[in-house]
Amino acid sequence: MSGESIWQKEISGEDIKKLFRFLFGAVKNVITSLYTRLYDYGSELISRYGSKMAVSFFLIPSLGFITIFYFLPFILTFLIGLTSMDFTFQWSWVGIQNYIRILNDSFAPKILGNTFFYVFTTLSFFNVGMALVVSLITNHIPDEVGSAIRGIWLLPRITPSTVYALLWLWAARREGNALINWFLGVLGIPPVDWMLNHPWVIVILVNGFVGTSFGMIVFTAALKSIPEDYYRAARVDGASTWEIIRYIEIPMIKWPLLFVTAYQTLSLLTSFEYILILTDGGPGLYTTEVWSLYSYHVAFKSYGGTVEIGYGAALATVLVLIGIVLSIIYWRVFKFKEMMLEPKIEV
């Protein structure tokens, strides 16, 4: 094996430090020179075309990106949804045929049911439920321990999705010596083929463990901002920890609770990454297929040699519309506008 050559040379701590210094130095140099170029170019533009140019110089690159990769796709998704486009990318218009097909699709009711089940269960047990439990508990134990626990709950989110799904697939293997079944075996329960018989359990656990961290952080921030006086007054009146949670903390974080529920509903409705890796909609026919995954399958996976990009886009249009409506509702309900104060001075 030629790989042994790596181990023949002793690598010292000094070497590693040198390597890191080199890497950081390189990245820093690239960034600095990039900005310097930008700066020179911008100065020249502004000196030539006046200060009006400054705003454009700062804004236009981002606007270009957002136009090409946000606004154009919005329109295209809708337009492609009105065609029977396949992998030849021909615009063959069919009007609203695709939408009539959705209504008559014999799998649609099942997939819709799956979607609601998946969103509701994951949201209530984990994205809100578990998040609330973790943030309340960590708020009542010493803070160093609490923040360490919250840090650990961040891990599933920052772990690459393929690795995280792999961890669970292994833990849930059907053999008796795989992690979950082994634990059950210790308790005297016979091994279960999780992915075959109870795929939803794993799908919800995986998504739930990832989803918990968002609510956890939002709730913790809200809990930390409850004035200390409230706690003191309650304790003077002889309130137990449970009563403090029930009558002070939960009522005080009603607003964040609503925010997390709303925000995560949209995320869960449209995300299908983990389901794709874990079950790919199976086992069997559409057992764990959700709407967004169905759209992906129809558009990209060929069944019998055809991909139906047009029909997939029509299915996606439904999600895009829901996404737009919900995003606008959040913006209104959660007073995002307060974050948009005008700049104080203008030169």
Partner: protein
């Protein structure tokens, strides 16, 4: 002073809350260094899996012609993707964030509204149209295509973070620079940018990690093995028979893939938390 009973109680709570998360990672590590594993008890220590992975070429069991791409090629692709996404994001969002924070111009509040709404909007629903665009402009099956899409979809978040940081810097500082004869651009570059280093770091780290972990867009927009990233390699091992035949190899690759994530997790948690707070929900 806490009583012993309280300490034990806290210990139990900590165990219940962290073991379900941590045990999976420990399991992964154990699989990569053991010959076989029963529950959480490995039988037989070995570093062969690691040696085979670090060798670069991963043989395919039972196949003569089919082979997986070299692991170092995959690492390079992933690194290129992640670094490019991070750099583009930080440059674009620091420009746009500054202009939204400091300039008054027509359409500013509408633009801010749009960016906020886009930030809440799940970009993944646009996947089919993005695929169509990339095919039309000839960027399908290139890393550049994935990079551009990813940067665009994360830009609203980046702009929003940077705007927040720029808002936090007092006007007096910038005013005095302008009074001293600095141009607007000069003030941005010499006075403001050095003061938002934390924001730049946050966007940079977030961009890098999200690029490093990217799966769906890479999987959908890339066809050729020579452009594979780690996520696609791990996925191929996950759904294939290979994970069953040699789990140790798959585990070693997965851990190698996780290395930067673990480093950032250990050393840059404050940035991560900050991003998560304002960042997107994900699943």
């Amino acid at each position: 002073m806490k009583s012993l009973g309280e300490k034990i109680g806290i210990g139990i709570v900590v165990a219940i809350l962290t073991i379900p998360v941590l045990i999976l990672y420990i399991y992964l590590f154990l699989i990569s260094v053991s010959e076989d594993i029963v529950g959480i008890f490995p039988t037989g220590f070995t570093i062969d899996n690691w040696l085979e992975v670090l060798d670069g070429e991963i043989p395919v069991a039972g196949a003569t012609f089919y082979k997986y791409p070299n692991i170092y090629q995959v690492a390079l692709n992933t690194f290129f993707l992640a670094v490019m996404i991070a750099l583009l994001e930080v440059v674009l969002s620091s420009l746009a964030g500054y202009s939204l924070s400091r300039f008054k111009f027509r359409g500013r509040s509408q633009l801010l509204t749009t960016i906020l709404i886009l930030h809440a909007f799940p970009g993944i629903t646009l996947l089919i149209a993005l695929f169509f665009i990339l095919v039309q402009v000839g960027l399908y099956n290139t890393l550049i295509g994935v990079i551009l899409v990813k940067v665009a979809l994360e830009l609203p978040l980046g702009i929003w973070i940077m705007k927040g940081f720029f808002d936090g810097i007092s006007w007096d500082m910038e005013m005095s620079a302008l009074v001293d004869g600095c141009s607007r651009l000069g003030a941005w570059w010499r006075v403001i940018m050095p003061n938002v280093r934390n924001g730049l770091m946050a966007v940079l780290i977030f961009g890098f990690l999200s690029g490093w972990a990217e799966f769906i867009y890479a999987q959908t927009f890339i066809a050729e093995q020579s452009f594979w990233t780690f996520s696609m390699l791990v996925y191929a091992f996950t759904i294939g028979e290979y994970s069953y035949i040699k789990p140790g190899i798959t585990a070693a690759i997965a851990l190698l893939y996780m290395l930067p994530v673990i480093l950032f997790f250990l050393f840059a948690q404050k940035y991560l938390l900050r991003i998560q707070l304002i960042g997107k929900g994900g699943a």
